[in-house]
């Protein structure tokens, strides 16, 4: 009924309102993160959390009206999580939980799309990690040349580096800002200032809620002990093995981003189950209570718990029955199951454990004990899983796993109608590196490319070590035109890295072959990998240190020579 003109006017007005909303949004998001910064892990946090919850509630209620449906969804999830925390009687948010909240608040900004989202179904490619705000590393180093080199190398790995000449400068800076990681030289001012000694007297710096790494020329025991006492997560000797240092740093950051541990609670006492859920949620885990015993396998398949807390005695089915059903499924043979029961009869406990469970917790169990038991079991299960599927040097998937992932993603791409891009990367003249500098140095080069890939690709991308110096990256829901600039950046950054062997500096390069499923609608994973390998071969023949893309024959004209 409205004329085209009126409709256009309406659209324009909506766009204006959206622009105004987006203009205010950064201030609101900044207010949220400054509130988060006030959390201290104590009972007094309640007031701050209350305000955070209210403001998130408002965001949840407004975003969608301005074309930011994902912002609403994300804000609502956070609002609910904080609501759960507030229900726990004694509030004590530990540092990892606060950090994960900080990360998720920061991530809200990235849910805002460039153009309005109208429907609930959306396809905005997930942000590339390179566009996320870089991690801030503060380096305390008075040797200007070393500081310059380190800064340059760390920046190749997308870190933001700020250099301080001494502890005093650092102390002034921490008054209004915080790094994500602190890297401190132990000996400053030619040995006149020992940083570990100085830091002991710096409560402001010690209060920083960030990981600390020391670098030192001396392997002396007192400094090492001091470093441990100051909570350092690393101690690196000079001359610095930068790739190993970077690998450690990225590992520390990755641990922070590890997904929340997932626990399934099976208990017929609904109040107790809800209490356990709240306690685990407050500890930063994701916990779910099973509604009906019959749904256990569906729930496990959908929720993918890493631990099942199972009441032993329930009216309909015993815990041992349900554990037995879980164990009938091969995929869940290793899923940790812990029984919960008031049972104190040791013989009956042993009998119950003989039937598919890993441990026994006796009720009443304290909140702290529950959290500790769940956390340590899941951590161990994760470590085990890593050992099985990951390459020990790089932490990337092994050959079989990445190949399987490629096949799976190509099938999925076809099913959902969105392309997947596969890339095969190979270090140029790697044999020469190994022969000239030895295998230990070769390993460092391999680790560096692994670290770069992990950093530059998205969380949803899958990376594996395909062979000795060959890697495969699987980029789901990604067209070649989006993949190319990112891979190009990886290539460029790798070429900019400087390696060091007994004072001799050298660089290395990689060649990349990529293929997009959109160009090969009928081919499966292994066939696409062959095509990527052929493109890689072309990149090698074309002079290395470059990317080539596979196209179905006849290949279009390639302008380079």
């Amino acid at each position: 009924m409205t004329s085209a003109g009126a409709e256009q006017a309406l659209k324009d007005r909506l766009a204006q309102l959206r622009a105004r909303y987006l203009e205010h949004l950064p201030d609101e998001l900044a207010a949220l993160s400054s509130l988060q910064g006030r959390l201290a892990g104590k009972e007094q946090d309640r007031e701050v959390l209350d305000e955070l919850q209210q403001r998130l509630h408002k965001l949840a209620g407004s975003g969608g009206s301005f074309g930011c449906a994902s912002l609403s969804t994300a804000a609502r999830a956070l609002e609910q999580r904080i609501g759960d925390w507030l229900q726990v009687r004694e509030l004590a948010l530990d540092a990892p939980t606060r950090r994960s909240l900080a990360n998720e608040l920061a991530a809200l900004a990235r849910t805002v799309p460039e153009s309005p989202e109208r429907s609930a179904v959306r396809w905005v490619p997930e942000a590339w990690s390179a566009t996320e705000s870089a991690m801030a590393i503060w380096l305390v180093e008075d040797d200007a040349e070393l500081a310059r080199q380190l800064k340059q190398q760390l920046e190749s790995f997308n870190y933001e580096v700020r250099v301080f000449k001494g502890i005093d400068a650092l102390r002034r800076a921490v008054e209004d800002q915080q790094p994500d990681l602190l890297l401190v030289d132990v000996m400053l001012e030619d040995g006149r200032e020992n940083a570990t000694e100085r830091l002991v007297d710096c409560p402001q710096v010690q209060a920083l809620d960030c990981p600390l790494i020391f670098i030192s020329v001396n392997d002396d025991f007192p400094s090492r002990v001091r470093a441990v006492q100051l909570g350092a997560q690393g101690y690196f000797l000079k001359p610095l093995d930068v790739p190993r240092l970077v690998s450690r740093i990225s590992q520390i950051f990755e641990e922070r981003h590890a997904p929340a541990q997932r626990v399934l609670i099976v208990d017929d006492d609904a109040d107790l189950a809800e209490h356990m859920r709240l306690v685990l949620t407050a500890a930063g885990m994701e916990a779910r209570v099973l509604d009906a015993p019959r749904e256990i396998m569906d729930t496990i398949a959908a929720f993918r718990p890493e631990l099942v807390l199972m009441d032993l005695y329930m009216p309909e089915y015993a815990g041992t029955d349900l554990a037995g059903v879980i164990r009938q499924h091969e995929a869940y043979i290793h899923l940790p199951i812990v029984y919960l029961s008031a049972e104190t009869d040791i013989e009956r406990q042993i009998e119950a454990m003989g039937r598919g469970a890993d441990d026994f917790l006796t009720k009443p169990i304290s909140d702290l004990q529950l959290v500790a038991a769940a956390r340590s079991r899941i951590a161990r299960a994760r470590q085990l899983e890593e050992r099985i599927s990951k390459d020990s040097l790089t932490g990337l998937l092994k050959h079989a796993s990445i190949k399987e992932a490629a096949s799976r993603e190509v099938l999925r791409a076809r099913r959902i109608g969105r392309p997947v891009t596969l890339a095969m990367l190979d270090i140029d003249h790697f044999k020469r590196v190994n022969d000239t500098y030895g295998h230990a140095v070769g390993d460092v080069v391999i680790m560096s490319i692994a670290t770069l890939l992990r950093q530059r690709l998205r969380q949803s991308d899958i990376i594996g070590r395909y062979g000795g110096e060959e890697f495969v990256a699987v980029l789901p829901e990604c067209e070649a035109e989006h993949a190319r600039p990112v891979l190009e950046e990886v290539r460029r950054n790798f070429a900019a890295l400087e390696f060091n062997h007994q004072g001799e500096r050298f660089g290395s390069t990689i060649s990349i072959g990529m293929v997009c499923s959109a160009d090969y609608p009928d081919q499966d994973g292994p066939e696409l990998l062959v095509a990527a390998d052929e493109a890689l071969y072309r990149a090698k023949r074309g002079g290395r240190d470059q990317i080539q893309q596979a196209f179905p024959a006849p290949a279009p004209d390639v302008t380079d020579c």
Partner: protein, 127 residues
């Protein structure tokens, strides 16, 4: 009951006010009076003589439910249908708001293009 024409809308956030006014006036063709607080609504509602009242739940000062109670105390408005607008829409909460005397609950965030349809649906249910 007559046609839905006049809507009193109570919301404290300017951004949301603006988009809801656009949705109700331009898209829906209604006459809208916006109040920025429960207090303002209680003061001005009788003079405006609304056919329907939309109340945000979470507002500083008088919140939605308190405002509803105060409006119900004004004889001329006792029968005017009220709908809450809120970002929390668990079934139990909807039931709770209805028990306070609201006709219905509109989930936030609302879609500006369909808000007036939703309001009309509530009105027809009330009529």
């Amino acid at each position: 009951m007559s046609e839905l024409q006049r809507i009193l809308y109570v919301e404290d956030e300017p951004d949301i006010q603006a988009v809801a006014e656009l949705a109700l006036e331009t898209v829906g063709g209604y006459t809208v009076k916006t109040c920025a607080s429960g207090e303002e609504a209680v003061r001005d509602a009788e003079a405006f003589a609304p056919d329907l009242i939309l109340l945000d739940v979470m507002m500083p000062g008088m919140d939605g439910p308190t405002t509803l109670e105060a409006l119900r105390g004004i004889p001329a408005l006792a029968e005017v249908p009220v709908a809450f607008m809120t970002a929390k829409v668990q079934p139990s909460e909807i039931a709770h708001y209805k028990s306070l005397g609201a006709r219905d609950v509109i989930a936030k965030p609302f879609d500006p293009m369909t808000l007036s349809d939703e309001v009309r649906r509530i009105w027809q249910g009330a009529a």
